[in-house]
């Protein structure tokens, strides 16, 4: 019994720790930290690729049009080492992305967090390391 409690305590402390983030390059060359964006939309495409995994989401504009945003995540190997697989999200999922906007102003963002409607944060590890 004592062993199980110890195990669970360890599990809680280990799993609850912060997750380091990894990127192959400096984020700020491409993305402007002074331009944060919050985007809510439906996932239309998932690219489980290197040097970055990407998701594409349809975001409705106030005027009713839809803009497809390209969301840069961490490298696949970094996400995998953080415990994520490509099935963490699926096409059609609604997500809220907090990120920073591309310097060009194009609908591209580097994700700081990707959150599902139930509040679960997925695919963490996207910020500059």
């Amino acid at each position: 019994m004592r062993l199980s409690i110890a195990f669970i305590l360890v599990a809680v402390s280990v799993l609850g720790g912060p997750r380091p983030v990894v990127a192959h390059h400096s984020i700020t060359g491409e993305f402007d930290p002074s331009k944060p964006v919050t985007l809510k939309g439906q996932v239309t495409k998932i690219e489980w690729t290197n040097p970055h995994a990407r998701i594409y989401i349809d975001v409705a504009q106030p005027n009713g049009t839809i803009v497809n945003w390209n969301i840069e995540l961490a490298a696949v190997s970094a996400l995998a080492r953080n415990g994520w697989t490509r099935s963490a999200l699926k096409i059609g999922d609604t997500v809220t992305v907090d990120g920073i906007h591309a310097r060009s102003g194009a609908p591209i963002a580097n994700a700081r967090s990707v959150v599902l409607p139930d509040g679960r944060k997925v695919l963490s590890g996207a910020a500059d390391q």
């Binding site: 390059h25 970055h52 990407r54 190997s77 080492r81 679960r120 590890g125």
Partner: protein
């Protein structure tokens, strides 16, 4: 009864965290890394040679070779020739070669691991390979068979490396570098005259020190030495595929005027 209650509460608290680790019942590699490198004695091969094999992280500069290498602020700047300073002043982080999936060179490292491989293992190694996962999938080849450097090697990203043991330290002597890679994200430069002497010492099971002397009379007025620490990745971690060219969108649509072929931006 009380114990059961405690477990229930703890399990309840754990479940959402477990849910963040899809498909796995154990902590992720990066979470295990937070505990620090494993401890224990230095492993050895049957002939007594230090065994450096394993999956390692770090051991070189990433952001700032001066600070991360243990030098005082301004120390490197004071050694830099005017030509090197002028070159560095033209660089910004968007021009980094590895943004275009080019290698990191030496002694720079990446956030991704590398595997040290000594071969053969049943007698003195003739070759040591450092297999790099990231950026980019590539390898360093160190000749341990006593050969010398060629007289006029073609300049390359990893140069021509010969190695030998000094007690338990692996010494890697490298010449024949190109001048294309950066020592760090600040753009600290070097020339083709670069000569590095790395001293890799496995301090214990989980830590390997890399003390590097950088001698480049083309860029610095005298040699300097910087020190880094590599740590052993948790058991179970392996090199993973990392094909940087697969979907590299660096700068293409994010930086106005960026040319992905040259890495330069038209102002």
């Amino acid at each position: 009864m009380k114990a059961h209650l405690v477990i229930l509460v703890l399990v309840g608290a754990t479940l959402p965290l477990l849910a963040q680790q899809p498909g796995q019942g154990q902590p992720s590699i990066s979470t295990q890394r937070l505990k620090g490198p494993p401890t224990g004695p230095v492993p050895r091969l049957p002939d007594g040679t230090v065994d450096l094999s394993g999956v390692w992280v770090g051991g070189g500069p990433i952001n700032d070779i001066e600070r991360e290498g243990g030098l005082k602020p301004g120390e490197l700047d004071a050694l830099m020739r005017p030509s090197a300073k002028a070159l560095m002043a033209t660089r910004d982080v968007t021009m980094e070669p590895h943004n275009r999936c080019l290698p990191m060179g030496v002694p720079r490292t990446t956030p991704f691991p590398f595997r040290m491989v000594q071969t053969p293992t049943h007698k003195a190694a003739t070759h040591i390979f450092m297999l790099q996962e990231g950026n980019i999938h590539s390898y360093r080849q160190v000749f341990m068979d006593g050969r010398k450097h060629p007289p006029d090697p073609d300049p390359t990203w990893y140069g021509h490396s010969i190695g030998w043991w000094e007690k338990d330290t692996l010494v890697i002597d490298t010449v024949g570098y190109n001048d294309k890679f950066w020592f760090d994200r600040r753009g600290t430069p070097h020339t083709e005259q670069l000569h590095t002497i790395e001293r890799w010492t496995r301090l214990d099971l989980g830590r390997m020190e890399n003390k590097v002397t950088i001698d480049d009379p083309g860029a610095f007025t005298k040699p300097f030495t910087v020190t880094f620490m590599a740590t052993l990745s948790p058991q179970g971690d392996e090199l993973m595929e990392y094909i940087c060219q697969e979907n590299n969108q660096y700068g293409v649509h994010t930086i106005p005027g960026f040319d992905p072929l040259t890495g330069e931006t038209k102002k």
